[in-house]
Symmetry: C2
Subunit: 216 residues, 2 copies
């Protein structure tokens, strides 16, 4: 049996996991996905998963030799440092990338993810007041990202970095899953999504990770 260098605990619908799967693909890593059944079996929430894989009860988890890393922002940082690709140049850029990664996890995809989950997958679906709350926060955060991207091709300027790979997390999923169209309402984000999509090795989350479509 062939072992891949990197193994990624993930599933197709997770934009958090997609950040890492995309980076692995873009850097041409030798990797394979390990399917985590979130929707039918609820694996990440089980005691076994929490004790053996990730105490935070989440994907993604990257296995690399003896290392087991979780939180996409950590994994992107690790891969950038190891591969020298998508790495922010210099101390100032390193901190600036981290700034956008934290902002993303808290306010951009940190709200886009739950919004899409509550609209598409959760049973029961999200309460309208919750959806309105999340949407307000999303609109504010997307506005900040769009404004940022009006000043340069990528978040840190002319070159793509891990800050971009973090921020695209949920943005390639179909607009129908959100009920609103991110690209149509934010022209700088739209152009940037096209730019990232044109990078060699880009693939859609539903093609890159197992578990799509969901069993009926």
């Amino acid at each position: 049996m062939n072992m891949a260098e990197y193994e990624l605990h993930c599933f197709a619908q997770s934009g958090n996991a997609y950040r890492v799967a995309l980076m692995l693909n873009l850097v041409g890593a030798d990797w394979r996905p390990l399917f985590v059944d979130f929707f039918v079996k609820g694996i990440p929430r089980t005691t076994e998963y929490r004790s053996a894989i990730n105490e935070m009860g989440e994907v993604p988890v990257l296995v690399h030799g003896a290392r087991k890393l979780s939180q996409s922002g950590v994994i992107l940082t690790y891969l950038a440092e190891r591969t020298g690709k998508f790495v922010p140049r210099g101390d100032e850029q390193r901190l600036e990338a981290l700034r956008w990664i934290i902002f993303d996890n808290q306010k951009v995809n940190g709200f886009l993810g739950p919004y899409r989950f509550l609209r598409n997958f959760a049973k029961p679906r999200g309460h309208p007041a919750v959806m309105e709350f999340l949407k307000g926060r999303i609109d504010n955060a997307l506005g900040i990202v769009d404004k940022r991207l009006s000043a340069g091709d990528y978040i840190l300027g002319s070159e793509p970095t891990i800050a971009d790979l973090s921020l695209v997390a949920y943005m390639y999923y179909p607009a129908e899953e959100f009920g609103f169209d991110i690209a149509a309402n934010h022209k700088h984000i739209a152009a940037w999504l096209d730019r990232v999509r044109s990078l060699l090795g880009w693939a859609h989350p539903y093609d890159l990770m197992p578990g799509y479509p969901l069993p009926q």
Copy 2:
């Protein structure tokens, strides 16, 4: 006029800003707070603030010489590297601290902050369905932190690091402001909050930053 080495844009009710104010005080830095009027004037949301201070429309912002840093996780990282204090030791610990800082920003204080805001300060107050949504996420995240702290005095083990200073963000504010008692329901968190409180230089957020109490 005396200039302090560090200046921190902040206000007393912001747990996000408290992380940084607390670290500055714990390391004995020469610092002073710059009051940002969030509640009466809504300063962080203004175009002026966004263009001159922080495009993300948030506090904290640390000014250090020509540098202007935002996102508490970035500032804690910067201060740890500069001062050598509360710094995670070695590569593995550095990534592990970052893991908890991102988790904190997304799911622990990332939800505690809005919950307390919607319960105490927002007009109108938060919708009950929103409060229930946030509380469910908070309970899950606090459970994960409590379990982690059952294994060691601090998040990374025997010594306090920036992961701890991040995670305490909103946890010293009065229980009445949340309507539930974090410490009473999580004994390992309670003991850890006592440990951090006993560090030389610790001060309560309402004593450390300007703007408390709010004008009536």
